[in-house]
Symmetry: D2
């Protein structure tokens, strides 16, 4: 068994205020999680698949904590692109710190990591219960966001100067890589600062995490958009609805939305190399369907088909590889293909990115955000650091470095992809 160790700032010598809470009679009532509790990665046996042997530290409230609530000063920062649920996470972290632990100083950092760099950022705001009261019903982030990191040293200076001993970093890969460096720098300076990440990826592509917040909402919305594309396609002769969905390296949104909608005929994801030409390529397969059924719906993840583009890749300020635009590429290539064959088509291309990212959460995600936020707070109060909160069979802790070194992807031999091809009827692989 491989036990994924989580860093801790020191011994927990302070009784959790939950134990003394007058609404709870005894610690047993609260179900404190012992430090030894672990969550297994593998729940399958005798299936012929080699076990990973991974064990994750179980998340949850600890009976004894590291930080004394009265002396604790926390800060929350939201980074990167929008994802449904940011406000719910901010709210539940704040409320758990404030009402459950009694922490009175919780800062909201403005506009991502920029707000941790006084040279270019705006000063933080001191949060209070009124400010966060209704924000879980709104999309976006009341703190603001930005892309990219800031100088690590400047950010740690900021934390020191403001006596902040807990930093919650809500963001994706790039953000958590930055958070890891902040934690390392704090350790180097022998500062008792806990850095706890809450993973934000609308693509649901973080390794070892089954479900990140915002993903369920994104699938919901992607489904609505696919329904529009299907209506457009069916309402015209040889109508083709082409929808570009999010998914830089992983096709989870496209795959789930396909199964939910049951209206997609071709789902194109980064995990399955795309072949356009040839009898079993996309174009000829599409033409056969159009001639046969007179309409088709295509859902393509933004990171799919990159094998078709020659040349070097560029990176954005967060360090993400910048993809070539498969959506417009396909739109043009398909149009050209049918034009050459003198088959009139009606192609409608939809790129709904912002109207998916900016909406409030659905119920599923609202619940998930609340749990992520509370578990992150419990972890931070117990002095855990350089870690993110995750969910795999149960909520657990994951070292930051493990979460960011690799992407989770759709298994082309797994139930999800089979659900997709059962619904679409497309070939399981392009040839």
């Amino acid at each position: 068994m491989i036990d994924m160790k989580i860093s801790r700032l020191g011994e927990c010598e302070c009784w959790s205020p939950l134990k003394l809470n007058n609404t709870l009679e005894a610690s047993a009532d609260f179900g404190f999680v012992p430090e030894t509790a672990m969550v297994m990665h593998d729940s399958e046996v005798n299936s012929g698949v080699k076990s990973s042997g991974l064990l994750f530290e179980k998340a949850g409230p600890r009976e004894k904590i590291f930080f004394k609530p009265a002396e604790t000063r926390a800060a929350i920062v939201t980074c990167g692109g929008l994802c449904p649920g940011l406000n719910t996470v901010i709210r539940s972290v704040f409320l758990c710190l404030y009402h459950i632990y009694g922490v009175r100083t919780v800062y909201g950092i403005r506009y991502g990591y920029q707000g941790l760099n006084p040279e270019i950022g705006e000063p933080p705001i001191l949060l209070n219960p009124d400010m966060v009261d209704r924000i879980h019903q709104e999309g976006g982030t009341i703190l603001g966001s930005s892309r990219g990191n800031q100088p690590i040293s400047a950010m740690v200076d900021f934390l020191v100067k403001n006596n902040i001993n807990i930093l919650f970093t809500v963001g994706g890969d790039g953000t958590q890589r930055g958070a890891h460096l902040i934690a390392k720098e704090a350790e180097k300076r022998r500062l008792s600062i806990s850095v706890v990440g809450i993973p934000k990826t609308i693509d649901n592509d973080i390794m070892y995490i089954k479900k990140t917040f915002g993903f369920a909402t994104a699938v919901d919305r992607a489904h609505s958009v696919i329904r529009c594309a299907h209506t457009e396609a069916k309402s015209y002769s040889n109508g083709i609805g082409l929808v570009k969905l999010m998914g830089r390296d992983s096709g989870f949104i496209a795959a789930f939305a396909t199964i939910v909608s049951q209206d997609v005929n071709f789902t194109i994801i980064p995990e399955i190399p795309l072949v356009l030409e040839g009898e079993k390529g996309l174009l000829e397969t599409l033409m056969r369907r159009i001639l046969n059924r007179k309409h088709a719906v295509i859902a393509v993840a933004e990171g799919a088909g990159q094998n078709l583009f020659a040349g070097r890749k560029q990176k954005d300020v967060s360090g993400n590889v910048l993809h070539n635009d498969i959506g417009t590429f396909l739109k043009e290539r398909i149009a050209e293909y049918f034009r050459e064959r003198k088959i009139p088509i009606n192609l409608k291309y939809i790129d709904p990115s912002y109207i998916i990212r900016s909406v409030p959460t659905n119920s599923e995600d609202c619940f998930l955000c609340d749990q992520y936020a509370r578990n992150a707070t419990h972890a931070a109060m117990a002095g855990k650091t350089d870690m993110i909160v995750g969910y795999w069979n149960d909520f657990m802790h994951l070292p930051m470095t493990h979460a960011t070194h690799q992407r989770q992807q759709v298994d082309p031999n797994g139930f999800l992809w089979h659900g997709v091809i059962s619904s679409t009827g497309q070939p399981s692989r392009w040839k």
Copy 2:
């Protein structure tokens, strides 16, 4: 008073079956509309505005009708771009013909006017109650649509060959111009074919018609998209949300959606010439807002700002002027403007056209579709032709030529535009 005469195929000598309907006791119960009844265009007096003196023929069931139901064969065709409510119109026309008048042969023409031209079109389908049962809950059109007209003579031949004596044309300007030519050709050939149009314009821009179906749903959806743009804009420093809405010649969708959302700061419509440069131009006004409030939302109708483009205009197959793309133009011009001034911005551009056009109707439009459809059916059964059904203070009849020769536009001095500038705080005119 100017009385807008409606053409009629001949005398109505057949008692309406409604009169004899066993659920109705007497004609008084049904409120038949006398042929003489008119609806006034102007309902305002003493306001200093010159009265138009226009009188429209009132729509509604007639006590005596022209077509004998048992001998009547009707057809419905839907043309042009999608608009919420097409299926509801198809359904209510069919049900009114079938259940209220007892007409048993109602064809659905496939893919717009193409289906009236046997050379290129598919054969019509014979509608029945099961086919239309649930279609009012779906977007699009079960009949299919296409853009552009077909040879008038071929289409009239088709009607003759299939013994069709009523044709319902559901479509916009171009469609109704085609319908008028069909009616004229039928008249020339001395055929008793009634051609009744049901106006379809998501832009709500048909002259003398206050409210067309699909418009309310479009405003609803535009509102949702603006909310997304607002969330994106507020969540980033100097965030700008730019939404391109439908509105080729008239800014009704942009204006209503602005008032509904209360989140737009600049509404740009075709009726108000756009000025970009100068102290009171859009760019400088926008910059002042960004510097002051750090975010802005812009809603631009697709036909706005055409004064900024030099050169000749092209037309599409339906005869509509093809506009230059004001959306991407503004996106680039704004980015350039701020780049030159070294002010970093976060601009998100959203073009939601298809996801607005393809949705099912909201309740408002569902009701409207039902009324348009039933009134069109009453008109056709009474032998009216070369007309469309409209709504102005009440449902009424409008000669096709009057509906298509001019667009309805937002009055820059009226309550609607004042509602917009009250909500946005923008200048009433660009200078």
Copy 3:
């Protein structure tokens, strides 16, 4: 022609600040409405219906106003049951006073008329732009509401004591009767206090007003509930879905929701006396449908079928007649009827009142609320009093006494009821 005179506190000698507004260049730009402008009630001619000859004063901004903005102190009160749009009305009245006229003191009265009676009410709150910023997206009323009137004299004392010269009363019949008495008492005391009502009736039953806010949203929601009832009914053998909708004296919600849903088989409204027994009564007609089609959906307005109850009526604190509960009565009577005939049925009864009343507005109503609010503000600033704002062909002013002395009802011979019976297939009258 009958001109409905509106009371005015005195001459308007102050130029409207709109005229001087720096975003507007000239008064022509704003389209001020002259005092002489009137809106005709009748827009139909030669239909055999006798003209009412009614003329309403046209609403809108006046070039000269009565109250000097700097000295004006306004108050808003919301009364009675919830209706979608109350917050939007509060917001737009406030913003129009604050931004358009420059009035700085606007009170929100707490919990209806109770807040105007210091003996039992809570003190008012001083509104500001931040408070109302997002409230149009929320149902309910941020001011709170209550039922019933308070002593007129105490309420006028309160206005005097707080130097309030404009009172906006948002409420139904009972509320506006109270508002009329406040206006009369103020007149008696020679106080220059303007009392302007904004009609609130989810039933849309105010005389001379075509469309009140909240109604469209209520129809939307009623439609959703009917869809549930239809699903329940179709999913069981002899399933009957019975939905009680709002509509104390008028069946508008039931009628519109029927036409929108197209799923109702029996619509029962107060305007058509209900007959249960006999061959053409509801029960036997229902039984025939159940035997024939195995399911049925019934929508009943809460005020329908009162002819079936013997005995005296009681009134609630607002003076509304308390109806006997037709919903549970029908539920029991239908169950009994089929039990006696040994026909097993599956009856599901749904009473959705609160989940309709408490939701935010749809786009339609959001627009309407904004217009009602702004026109009420223009009227009040022009010194109009003892009136409500209405909509009939255009926004207009209506003397309070005219609005409350009679209810608007569904015309059993009009297009609306015919739309209903065309959709349901039910008899036009019960016998």
Copy 4:
């Protein structure tokens, strides 16, 4: 380790058609699940909780199957109360049988078990792809449902007479108890009939199953209703919103909806005995909140507080204990309590059962339904019987008897209940 054995009709000697499917190149591509594969119940170690040692048979397609597709005749029956997703389950079972396995005869049994009893039921319908095409977008069940069982012998006779060798039973506890008896009777008669259950419980209360379909949608809708109750409560002085939610024996809907809405102040579930009187009872706690905050929202599961009712329990036709109505009981008791103390309150009671049960699924449930249905089909084709499909860490098989002998309940010491009390601030237990 305790291995939960699943009954199988015999050896699987037929190659799965999936292996030969021309869209799949090799069995590896399809990820067939070996018969030996098991899913562990416990994924937690070292937490002080004794391990159950349970192992479930893993669900999924088998490389070799029992039934020859060409000879297979299947039937689907839906029983009991409505639950979002029934149509999606029907559709995916049918499509998996039809398209993936090539089974051509699939019956839909009408109105639950009644349709398996020719004495009282209607004949089954033969399903085809057109029939099920859009049904996943509709609530209810196109097959119809009914409550209660029918004589086991008659139902098995029906299967024999119609040569049906697979029966899918979609229903709750009572349904699956009936299905178990059918499987036993078939075994006794030495018939090769597979009976596979798909668990339907909107309450999510089936033992060993983490998530049943329809639950997520129910939480979504319950959330909407709670929002209405909150609006009503906040809009009146001493407003109390009381919502009765589903949950006969388990408070999962109430608990999840509480966490999602963040607006509930008191969540009352069957797992925590309710105490009304005394300083730490509901009534006094509620009064303190009302006096302090002037409004409160209460969510009560229908099966909660049964400890307050004396006397014997009755059962319905499905064998479920009939509960006393805690909703109306609380409504009256609360009203009485405040009346006695002369504190005026505004209590609104909402019972939304049917408008939750009858809606279409949200995306989450749509996906779940598809997976449940496909895994049930794979199990049946492999000759499994007397089992239901479940989900616990992964999709798995569960003997029918194990699923029905005990309910899953909210753990009063677990993270879910702590999430509730963290959100509501209520006592963890009533005293």
